[in-house]
Symmetry: C2
Subunit: 318 residues, 2 copies
């Protein structure tokens, strides 16, 4: 029978691991995807009206690997009123040789949070300006914490400006991140972020633009993490139109939803080159980031779930 691993054990494994090691697994997630070494069918989606919720099924495998992975993640947005987390999920790990279920990772969505945070770190590693003088975090939720946590060590900067919609959420964010060694300023005024930061991460479930082109520094990188489903948007389309470098985790997926989708719909990206993050990682040429405005649009791909599951399984075997 399959082994079943609970969230506590998974958290312990992740938290004791050196960040550069986790990042290397995530780099392989993007490189295998863009290099055609992975089989990743379209994301399965299930939506509910009342109470509102959505479920994503991301699945696939890296060729010549041991496992294939089916990851289920849900968001039920009225859960907090019941005292339950809105997000939930699990990773199922099967043998590529026999189809047998090997391990159920009952991570309750934790591994999705981790791999999404790591993706932000990978984007920053390759795309942040050489000297980061301020990190901007737009959003105050779980993933806004993850993003900042995983930037430590990747980016040599401890000055952080956090934008949120309420003083309460900003204070809670600041309190929870103080122990991580950052110097955090909070603001309700979005322009403070553009004025003080040249590495900005957007991490909200917004359905209309929060960050606009006006007021941004000339040499700035933006990683957009929030728009993981159709209808979500965090960046004004002008940012994508004017970007000197536009990077997607998956070009096909970002054209279907995400920030790039919105700009394509508006007819603003005609003839514009979109690089995949895996291409940036794998190619010496693309690793020389040009000065200017760069954007990474991250919608989340199955190879991330595969790689984080691979990592946990290897640790369990050791």
């Amino acid at each position: 029978m399959a082994q079943i691993i609970d969230r506590d054990r998974i958290e312990k494994i992740i938290k004791k691991t050196d960040l550069t090691r986790l990042i290397s697994y995530m780099e392989e997630a993007f490189a295998s995807y863009s290099g055609g070494r992975a089989v990743v069918p379209p994301v399965g989606t299930l939506t509910f009206d009342s109470p509102p919720g959505d479920v994503h099924i991301k699945y696939g495998y890296i060729k010549d690997d041991s496992y294939y992975v089916i990851k289920i993640a849900s968001g039920f947005y009225e859960n907090p009123s019941l005292g339950i987390d809105s997000s939930n999920g699990l990773n199922l790990v099967f043998s590529q040789k026999t189809g047998q279920l090997e391990t159920i990772l009952l991570d309750e969505g934790y591994l999705t949070d981790v791999r999404t945070g790591l993706a932000g770190a990978v984007a920053a590693k390759y795309l942040a300006p050489e000297k980061v003088y301020g990190i901007g975090i737009i959003g105050t939720g779980t993933q806004a914490r993850m993003q900042l946590r995983y930037l430590k060590g990747t980016v040599q900067c401890n000055k952080v400006v956090v934008w949120g919609r309420s003083e309460e959420s900003l204070s809670a964010y600041k309190a929870s991140m103080r122990s991580e060694g950052f110097e955090i300023t909070t603001t309700l005024e979005i322009n403070d972020v553009g004025r003080q930061c040249n590495l900005i991460v957007t991490v909200t479930p917004s359905t209309s633009p929060i960050l606009e082109l006006e007021g941004l520094a000339e040499d700035v990188h933006i990683t957009a993490v929030g728009a993981d489903t159709a209808g979500k948007q965090e960046l004004g389309t002008g940012i994508l139109e004017q970007a000197d470098l536009l990077v997607a985790d998956s070009e096909s997926q970002c054209r279907e939803h995400g920030e790039i989708h919105k700009a394509v719909q508006a007819g603003l990206l005609k003839g514009k080159k979109i690089l995949e993050l895996g291409e940036v990682i794998s190619s010496a040429e693309h690793q020389r980031r040009p000065a200017g405005l760069s954007v990474a649009d991250l919608t989340g791909i199955a190879t991330q779930d595969i790689q984080i599951s691979n990592f946990v399984l290897e640790q369990l075997q050791n």
Copy 2:
């Protein structure tokens, strides 16, 4: 934490249950699907070349129900050489209210076998000729056993002709089904089935037609169960072209694969009416089967997995 139920316990629950009760759950599976009361996204598929295997993810929910279900089923065809079943799988049952995982049914594919067998019984209940004088089973595998087992009580006939590709598989089939009260004749000659039977069930993984129009009785019903993936086919397309009544579990799915797909591809079904099994069940008009040739094309739909999971969960709660 989610409860985890193993195959033994699931088998016990199913085996102690009256067949008519199980059939009523499967009728609701088809009726809810065709009545638009279910949300069923397209099937997710993952295929492997070496060793050859395929994985199907069927998922969805019946509106106003308690649960949504994600069913994963795999077939790895070289497993028997390792002493492992080729098919495997599990059903994941989640709350429609919170998205939380409620129950993992580690049935190893058993519930898929059961719900597929029950679908054959439902098809026979509504579509078999009034007097069945011979049941033809084409195929000798696990599902060929399931189909016959679940016809008992649904159809008043104990004369069975079984066709297979080898004497060994036929003897094994006959031996395993003897205790069920059927009078079984085996044959390597496909025409024996058409000559002696007016209810025929095809249950093979064939990729080319086994049963042809010639030699069939005038008033006969055929249920085709085998063609669950693109490329599979058991019936000559002439059978579908000449059918007086053509029934699909899901018209859209059968047009994409299954027997109907093959006949559509050959241009033989232009203007031909295809009824769904759920429409037959729900409509007094369609329940009057006309004499002649009827065909039910069953490719397997998520509401069957939902309903069989619903049934098991209700039993666990009692």
